[in-house]
Symmetry: C2
Subunit: 603 residues, 2 copies
């Protein structure tokens, strides 16, 4: 097993140097948190990760959950962690004091989450889902629901879930059919099936609280008739927990993330399932979007975290495994073998991973910063600006770490050659685990429709304009360093490419060619996200350059900053040029994939 799975140093660099967490700590809302407290929280996360998560990562993967006699059994170490996490206040740590949280900046909880998720991504799902669903109740639920559910959830006693997907509907939420019938007693009677409910049931959980989407009898068709309910596995009656007619029908066995059971449950089979409406009727989906957006960033973070763990495992191997000779020593057969990190191809694979991991963490931290600024600013215009940027970047921060993370872990495995494919090393587990990230919380295809259709076109160009302003500000700062001017030029060029491609697609939409306009949304996502990550890399490199010029870093610190600049160079030279091919296709007039193309051509 590798020794390192994440760079806390890098997370601190992002928090303190790149995203200046002090700026938000200085606001009244975060008055009780200072820089020292931030470090303590990261230390506490590392401690939890080292104690409960990382040592059991592979072992938990090897002991898939079981489902027998209607009971789901998970690895006992998982509950130890949930309990410890609740006790340490990590579940809902970013919630307000009023909501029972620690009122920590999102940037800090993202940092803590990065550490713990890199140590054991699947186990973090349990607490992440509890936090997200508790947040929904706290944001939109009646006082009674808050008291009854949220407190126990934040303590790690009750498990929370998000219960959206139904067998016949899949990603098409407008087609869900679970029903809710009003009663005179304040609750509704729920009936329906949900699938893929992560952490949706397990032995040892005192209770499982489903945040379930359903239609109140007579509600309109489509997404406008969806309401949100709290549907616990056990409901309280006369002070005791009694069965609430939520039956686990089965558990999906998955290729990876075996720690987390994906449950298929049936509600109301005996007509005895009570649910409590959250907020107003028919507004469920809009509430759920809060959790979905949080979860999207959470999945992005998970992708980056898994890729991080795989990166350090392959880096360690590359530094310790002798094999072959440098090309320059090719004929010196009597020389000892060199470490494989000295082979250019291995270097390339390592730099790719580092570029993906640290580029992704940077983008996620940028999003967390926007969320913090939204909470702390009183300036309505600024708040709107940050909201637009956060909306724009959320699908990107979900998708890039997933899609490029999958490739990144694959390169990590490749560094180990045949050994990477065996169960002797954790790479194969990371490889299986990370694959789910491009599916969870809306597939890459769905994220891409959201980005192009809603976030870019739907704002009439406003969001791109704001992104352009952010990049312009960075460009000005970066241009003060001669070494970085070249990269500023490249980024500006790419922004022009982005404008051009977006205009081309926009013209199609204006002409009513919606199918054609959206057909290549996934390619647009890759194109867009490469530029966004390029922005994040130039941002990191500029801060590193400043530190090199103004400070006098030595030893490991010097290497850290130099490595940042070097990895930025890698990204600009190896990854950013991929936009060329994407732009060529995105502006190609050959309508290979549209509604006009009959599916019969695919045989």
């Amino acid at each position: 097993m590798a020794k390192k799975y994440v760079s806390v140093e890098n997370l601190k660099f992002l928090l303190n140097e790149v995203f200046n967490i002090q700026e938000v700590l200085d606001t009244p809302y975060y008055a009780e948190t200072d820089g020292e407290a931030v470090n303590m929280i990261l230390d506490a996360a590392t401690d939890l990760a080292d104690r409960y998560l990382f040592p059991h990562y592979v072992e938990i993967d090897r002991t898939d959950h079981t489902f027998e006699d209607g009971k789901v059994t998970i690895h006992p170490k998982i509950q130890e962690f949930i309990k410890a996490s609740g006790e340490a206040g990590f579940i809902g740590a970013s919630f307000s004091y009023e909501h029972g949280g620690q009122q920590l900046p999102e940037m800090v909880t993202a940092g803590a989450g990065a550490i713990m998720s890199a140590a054991n991504n699947g186990v973090l799902m349990f607490t992440g889902l509890t936090a997200g669903s508790a947040h929904l109740i706290l944001s939109y639920g009646a006082e009674e629901l808050k008291e009854k559910y949220a407190t126990k959830m934040l303590a790690g006693q009750w498990q929370g879930t998000m219960a959206l997907t139904e067998p016949q509907a899949g990603s098409s939420l407008s087609d869900i059919v679970s029903s809710a019938t009003p009663t005179d007693e304040g609750h509704y009677k729920l009936k329906g099936q949900k699938i893929f409910i992560s952490a949706g049931d397990y032995e040892g959980a005192e209770n499982v609280v489903h945040l379930m989407l359903a239609r109140i009898d007579g509600a309109p068709l489509g997404t406008k008739g969806i309401s949100l309910f709290v549907v616990p596995k056990y409901r309280e009656e006369n002070g005791a927990l009694v069965d609430n007619d939520v039956t686990t029908a089965g558990v999906y066995h998955k290729m990876g993330q075996k720690s987390t059971p994906a449950v298929h449950y049936i509600a109301g089979d005996n007509d005895n399932c009570h649910g409590w409406l959250v907020g107003e009727p028919n507004k469920g989906l809009s509430y759920m979007f809060q959790m979905m957006n949080e979860a999207r960033l959470g999945v992005g973070l998970m992708g980056a975290a898994i890729a991080s763990a795989a990166y350090y495992a392959s880096l360690e191997y590359a530094n310790e495994r002798p094999q072959g000779r440098k090309i320059s020593d090719h004929n010196a057969k009597d020389k000892p073998q060199t470490m494989i990190i000295n082979h250019p191809d291995v270097k390339r694979m390592l730099l790719f991973q580092k570029a993906v991991v640290e580029g992704s963490f940077s983008l996620i931290m940028e999003c967390a910063r926007y969320a913090d600024l939204i909470k702390t600013t009183d300036d309505e215009a600024a708040k709107k600006r940050y909201n637009t940027l956060l909306d724009l970047l959320t699908p990107v921060a979900k998708t890039f770490p997933a899609e490029y993370g999958i490739r990144s872990v694959s390169e990590g495995m490749q560094c180990l050659g045949g050994f990477g494919y065996t169960t002797d090393f954790p790479l194969e587990t990371y490889y299986r685990d990370i694959r789910i990230t491009s599916i969870y919380e809306g597939t890459t295809g769905i994220q891409s429709l959201d980005l192009l259709g809603r976030k870019v076109m739907g704002t009439g160009g406003k969001s791109l304009q704001l992104l352009g302003e952010e990049i312009k500000a960075l460009a000005e700062e970066a241009s003060t360093y001669d070494d970085l001017k070249k990269y500023v030029g490249i980024l500006q060029e790419k922004m022009q490419e982005l404008q051009k491609v977006t205009q081309h697609l926009g013209a199609m939409a204006m002409q009513g060619k919606h199918e054609l306009f959206l057909a290549d949304a996934t390619l647009y996502m890759e194109f867009f996200s490469l530029i966004v990550i390029g922005w994040q890399w130039l941002k990191q490199a500029t801060v590193a350059k400043k530190a090199l010029v103004t400070g006098n870093p030595e030893g490991d610190q010097l290497k850290f900053y130099e490595s940042k600049i070097h990895t930025m160079r890698y990204f600009y030279s190896y990854e950013l040029p991929k936009t060329l091919g994407l732009a060529a296709r995105l502006t190609d007039k050959d309508e290979v994939i549209t509604v006009e193309v009959e599916k019969e051509l695919i045989v």
Copy 2:
């Protein structure tokens, strides 16, 4: 479980229409095989696949081989297939009659292999390795070895292996240390360890015959001191099989291809392991290259075959799974859901898979055709030409189906969304299985060094010139169809790009900057292989166009040809533009990854 895993129709199209197998069948060497016989062989392969392979694919995956008390146990269905395959004459079917084969064209055995490998790739490993190792003995071994070993191997009674890798050497064969000490009795005494020996031991195998690389005492350092030995698990003494001191020390558990145990064995621990030299001393690696080259094409075929099975599984799902509505029906909530194949993003993922699968099969068949022409031509100049082209394309035919096959299966999984990630569908098995193909028989990095260093530069431009001539001939034919002229133009443009990039890299090599020249070999491989597959797609489209123009195809046949042209359009519009970004990096002067870059910059 999906119903279809391969298109036999497509294989017949390649054999008969694209690569004109009749041309080689008309030569004296293949006098006893005609078109009808070819069809019978493909039918027989389908029959074996449907009976012994496909129905047990997932079940065998779920029952990983075991290693207890020194014994390796595999799934019993595997041996049933091996026996049936031997009886049907499939092992070594392309060998000459003299060697006990059926003297079938390589194109035909490639077609049969595609069918069986798509049905169950891991099980095909057993017979493929036996065939390859028997071929080595038959090609270079003494008569006695041929009689003693090859016959039983071709009958499926004895298992063959290729035993190259050692723990301390990995891919660096020049560092192997297994030793061979001559005796007065005709055999050598072998000592050493080999790892990752696929099918290297299992209960029920009458014998396992390792084709093992080792150094004769006193042999020179490096690859020039390597000899090849036949090292059986049991040796014959006085008419009986006795233990030959080859001990299985362990079996690697792998992420995928669980059917095939990867064995770690120790030879000569009790100083009682006999081995027999194949051919001359110190020439072992040159002999082994025959098997390695065959195996490289075999791995390419395996990659394409797995991607094929995944493609048809996802195509079936996409045609049967309703979800959401067409974008044009977006607001018609009361309409029934549409099949997901009608979503552009799903269409794109299916077309990508089809383009990879059928493009790969086409390239592999092209290589098989060269091999057939080498065997059948009397014209020495032509033979040399085909040899050069086969050498050039072998690393590509290994790597493209592996690397793009991995992506292709991933897109197949993505079509199924969350279900694709579960064990309810075979996609997750294909996803795990295909990942090994970029590692087996030389990783992608090693194939890429071979392509750029040896095959392109090492021939002084000759190989590229020959490829250019092949493409020119196709361009002339394709240009007779107006619809195809556009694509001819693109392909010619790409060939110019290839020349330019190759010259740029060649100039570096001339300046002695070897490290820098080879640093981006893997990118050159992707760049090169996109163009090669583009060539194969235009070739297929031209044949399809001709059939549409000159024949009067109807129904399924019409759709088949139209789909070929459509998939070519997809490849030219979506995949070929990727060369732009690759060319940009390959000619970028920023030396991000070279020997000059200290590994300390990767932290």
